[in-house]
């Protein structure tokens, strides 16, 4: 029969020689190999005590960013939830009341923002979808829990702390394009805004 490809091999039912039939040399050879492994260094990383070095742009637990003055950036637009392929993100929006300007950057904010860490596949699409630089993935690993419900992270776990020194630095995750864009202070997106008064939306439009 003609071979269809050059890769095909004819199976040979070779008669084993006497030594091969004994099997013992082969068995001893195998045992020699396993014995050498006895003296090799183990590949195990003892996890809770030692942590494997991970990349700076590792996609781990999410953070909801605040701006320079400590106001939450998220406006509950829902683009992250739409982008999420695992449907792990849910949110409820609310309108900012008078006097809450220091807490929320814009008129609308997320009153509830939940990510189910068991559903999340840590793809980072939420981060890409966010127009407000509000959500980022960080190189923190989601810790182990005993209950399923504990894996649904609310704003208490997701929003970064108010204190300046406890903020989570995500500047390493910015692409060069984003870094370039952020140099332009004329864009409303980049304006540093003091908590006392709301962003002037008209001015923002003009800047664009």
């Amino acid at each position: 029969m003609q071979a269809l490809t050059k890769r095909s091999k004819v199976v040979v039912n070779k008669q084993l020689s006497f030594v091969e039939k004994l099997y013992l040399p082969a068995i001893l050879g195998g045992m020699r190999i396993t014995l050498t492994h006895l003296f090799k260094k183990s590949a195990t990383v003892k996890y809770p005590e030692k942590k494997r070095a991970i990349s700076n742009v590792y996609r781990g637990q999410h953070v909801l960013k605040r701006d320079e003055n400590g106001a939450e950036r998220c406006t509950a637009c829902g683009l992250c939830a739409v982008a999420c392929p695992a449907e792990a993100i849910t949110m409820l929006s609310a309108e900012r009341k008078k006097g809450e300007e220091a807490l929320y950057r814009e008129e609308k904010y997320a009153s509830v923002y939940e990510i189910n860490m068991l559903r999340c596949i840590f793809c980072g699409l939420c981060e890409e979808a966010c127009p407000k630089e509000a959500i980022f993935l960080t190189n923190r690993i989601v810790p182990v829990e005993f209950e399923r419900n504990d894996f649904i992270y609310g704003k208490d776990k997701l929003v970064e702390p108010m204190e300046k020194d406890k903020r989570i630095d995500v500047s390493i995750r910015e692409t060069t394009e984003v870094a370039e864009f952020k140099k332009h202070n004329e864009y409303g997106h980049n304006q540093v805004w003091d908590g006392s008064k709301a962003i002037d939306t008209k001015k923002k439009k003009k800047a664009h």
């Binding site: 045992m31 190999i33 396993t34 492994h37 090799k40 590949a43 195990t44």
Partner: protein, 351 residues
């Protein structure tokens, strides 16, 4: 000539020794489970259990507690009496064999000899083979009483495997008995002073015995009875809690005892060459004898594990081929070679 102890001291001493052998068997078996997991891990470049205590040394204890705490399920369709009898019998037979093993040379206290052997039966070899054969019933009863096809298949495999390999084992032991001229384990051990270990006279016999010992203890590559890929768990599929623990534990006791038997039969038992040059006090000799004996046992246990984590499992027909078509003819050949040689030696050298 020192007298062997007698009277009430004899009974008290024997009870202490029996309890000690029992405890040591269980202790070694417990740490064999730990050793198994550690060696498996090291051979696979892993770490193994290291959480319970330093280096995971309390792991056997934790496993034991776990086994006792687990819910115990006895299937309603099972034969309850036999279901309980199965693992008990397996465990009892595993522990019984320790009685005839000579653990070391005699102790001498106050001019009386204290032999480090629970009982020196003059048919010790036959006793061993007999008790090991009864061990099959434990597996058979357990598998049968479970009323589960996988258990039954496992039990069938176990019993047919053990019966097939017992023949080759018996034949290799016959050759050994012909060489040593005794059925008493103590005499076999005592004969092998210095380098006169039986392995030199019976290399083929040892190989056959070793392979059969692997099969008898249901160790890989002969672990078909508990082949989890085909039979779920084999004969212990339906077992839970400490009954399962007994089955698994007896396997390690069997391994310990068969290592002890191999060391006694072929590797000089408690004898070590040239030890007599440095040590003359009988009690120190006994101490070192026990140490050497356990060294040999540990080496064999390690070899058992080493083989387990190297070789894949046999297929059933391969197992039967090896047993009936290769090992039994080989054992007969061994016997056929040994017999004329002994005749020759007796005839010419006039022992």
């Amino acid at each position: 000539m020192l007298l062997v102890i007698s009277g009430t001291t004899f009974i008290i001493y024997k009870v202490i020794l029996a309890v000690a052998v029992f405890a040591v068997s269980l202790g070694v078996a417990a740490y064999a489970t730990y050793g198994e997991r550690k060696i498996a891990a090291f051979l696979q470049d892993r770490v193994g259990p290291d959480r319970a205590g330093p280096f995971g040394l309390l792991q056997p204890l934790a496993d034991g507690v776990k086994m006792f705490m687990k819910e115990e399920i006895i299937p309603t369709v099972s034969n309850k009496a036999l279901f309980i009898l199965g693992p008990s019998l397996f465990m009892i037979t595993a522990l019984l064999t320790g009685a005839v093993i000579p653990w070391g040379p005699d102790l001498v206290i106050g001019g009386e000899r204290y032999p480090l052997q629970v009982t020196d039966v003059n048919i010790g070899v036959l006793y061993l083979l007999g008790v090991v054969s009864v061990g099959v019933y434990g597996i058979m009863l357990g598998g049968w009483a479970s009323n589960n096809k996988y258990s039954l298949m496992g039990a069938l495999r176990a019993s047919s495997q053990m019966i097939s390999y017992e023949i080759a084992m018996g034949l290799s032991v016959i050759a050994l008995v012909m060489v040593t001229g005794t059925l008493s384990l103590r005499e076999i051990a005592d004969q092998q002073t210095s380098w006169h270990w039986n392995i030199i006279y019976q290399p083929l016999g040892f190989l056959i015995f070793f392979i059969c010992a692997l099969a008898e203890t249901n160790r890989a590559p002969f672990d078909l009875p508990e082949c989890e890929t085909e039979l779920v768990g084999g004969y212990h599929t339906e077992y839970s809690s400490m009954k399962l623990g007994l089955f698994l534990f007896s396997e390690y006791i069997n391994m310990f005892i068969s290592s002890a038997v191999m060391a006694t039969f072929y590797f000089g038992g408690y004898n070590m060459p040239f030890i007599g040059r440095w040590v003359s006090d009988p009690n120190w000799l006994a101490f070192w004898g026990v140490i050497f004996f356990f060294g040999k046992i540990i080496f064999f246990i390690f070899t058992f594990m080493w083989i387990r984590w190297t070789l894949p499992r046999f297929r059933y027909d391969q197992l039967m081929n090896l047993g009936w078509k290769i090992l039994i003819p080989l054992a007969i050949f061994n016997l056929a070679v040994v017999t004329p040689l002994i005749m020759l030696a007796f005839g010419k050298l006039k022992f």
